[in-house]
Symmetry: D3
Subunit: 141 residues, 6 copies
């Protein structure tokens, strides 16, 4: 059982805002992150897949293929976008790194389960909002 | 003559957009950076000051003081903000890293010239938009 | 179950020295780290908490709050200090990164257990002594 | 139970090539990584050992000793070498990071099991091929 | 006068070897870097251009365009290649970072001089062989 | 004219303290950096030398040799030391990064001038006290 990790990045705007709350409540809960005119980040996403090495290729999964999946399923949809306004799969959620990471998991988990190499499974997603703040998710309910 | 550098960071939203141009012209010139709903970055700013060492303190300038100036004059005004909408000193300019860096220079240069230590001058500002894209300015006309 | 990580830093002096041993035994065991006049590091501490996302806020825990706890309970007590001489909660221990990390755990674990959000638990502490040497602790006995 | 990590680096050439396959099949599977004249990387290796802290020394294992083992058993044999041609313990395998990491595990696991401190065990090896591509192995079959 | 920097990376094999010297002389001069079976690096290249900001676009040069030039003129020709064997413009030179950097300068300087924006000039090239070893060139004879 | 840079690191303790001043004056000037029991840093030093490439070797200077000079002249004397107490060439100065950098310059400049390759000169020394605070010196009076 081996684990292999690929890192990609994207730049996006967002704000933390719960529309059910007053502006004051949003400010007291989210602080400057609730600035109505948005702020943004250079996000980084690390995807870990696990499984058995294919003895023919010596690889668990071709990283170029994993990178391609990450780009098509995630990066192309969030890069240079507003996470609150422009991303269908994030609609209606508060765009905390926690919530965003779980949505990325749902998309990539389904995609990776459909790969030919049935041994290969999504193990972990780590999303860096900044180098000092990041979230990890293992698909645990 | 010694040079001393302090690095700070801020997170902001922006877009590249020239209101005199059509939306198509903006898109052809700025690409995804012109996305109308904004995107954003974890910016980093490095400020270099130069001058003679004060023989009493062994310092050119107290870095805590330089850091305080950077925070009060720059970071507090741009962090968790929209560079196009929320920052008075950026009003009316296209928020490329080039233009933003020059505005930072103008503010910090005036402030540092007003310091007690008359030997200390602003030498360089470097602004990272991403770890792969950055701008340097030395106050050259 | 989501994991969220906050990183802070501090600068401190220390030495590795067991007062029950001779100076020679300390030198043979700890090498240059036992230099009697101290040496020091730019330490980094990463704290991981885990739990369920609060559906109202979309957050496990407000990172500003976690950062505040780390600063008040740890950073303010070790930053620009001598770990062997200036830190009450490290008294009497050899200040290896292993021992220091466990002390940080004890303090933060108790504090985090007392938070309102009863779902939120300390999961892991990682302390970097240098970018090449670091320790991880999960509270395992 | 504490975990301690040491990071080392080495620079090496390699190519991904299965001699049982045609050149075309190698190219379609491995792409530019199969370039017959080799390419190379600045590899980084992080070794995590786990165990109980020795109460006399406050250490799980002296990092200088762990570093020495990594240098003698691994770095000296792969640094400034061709992984496909120059390294006896990699002979006959495809030099994917997956395969290389498992070979490093086998060597270091045996060596660490032979240490005096019987509590200390190899826990994890992480090998970075680039800052964006890396593999983790825990000795799981 | 503003300076803007773009960073790209490539992975390549090479060795330091002067065919006019004996193998022993090569070993005594270049050490392990002369290993006949090659070694390799994750190279990074930072290109700085300087000039006046275009007031219409707020940019010195579109970084996407600068990145495209770097990829077409340099990266595509050296990435996943052997610098001694596979790169026509490096033929006959010893592939030290010094020599490689100057060749990159010659190619990019000519290309950038041919850009529409006649104000924009190549200012500096920095090439990292490792994070600890790098070369800078300003086109000075 | 080419510039080549080598980076090394060392870990040291120090405090900022002017013995001619009262303890209060030291505290008001240097803040927590004047803590009497010391603090410390993971310092990094980057040395840039400049000159003409030797056409025989393709090198300005063998980086292994530059690294050896840095280690023998600087690192061995400051690593795991107290900059205020243990380093003869720093005696009597306030150990600000400014002062330390100039002392490093004086030692390395003299040493490099005595090298065989008379074309090779020290150009710049950069010393990082932390990733956020660093000093640069070019030998300018």
């Amino acid at each position: 059982m081996i684990y292999i990790v690929r890192k990609e990045h994207f730049n996006a705007a967002h704000k933390l805002y719960n529309p059910k709350w007053s502006k004051d409540k949003n400010m007291s809960e989210f602080g400057v992150c609730s600035n109505e005119n948005w702020h943004g980040h250079n996000y980084e996403i690390e995807v870990t897949v696990k499984g058995k090495i294919n003895p023919e290729s010596g690889m668990l999964v071709n990283l170029k293929y994993l990178s391609k999946i990450m780009k098509e399923e995630i990066i192309d949809k969030v890069d240079h976008k507003n996470l609150n306004l422009d991303v269908p799969f994030l609609e209606g959620i508060i765009t905390t790194t926690e919530n965003v990471t779980i949505k990325f998991w749902e998309i990539l988990d389904a995609k990776i389960k459909s790969l030919d190499n049935s041994e290969c499974r999504l193990h972990k997603i780590r999303v860096y909002e900044t180098p000092r703040n990041f979230v990890e998710y293992y698909g645990e309910k």
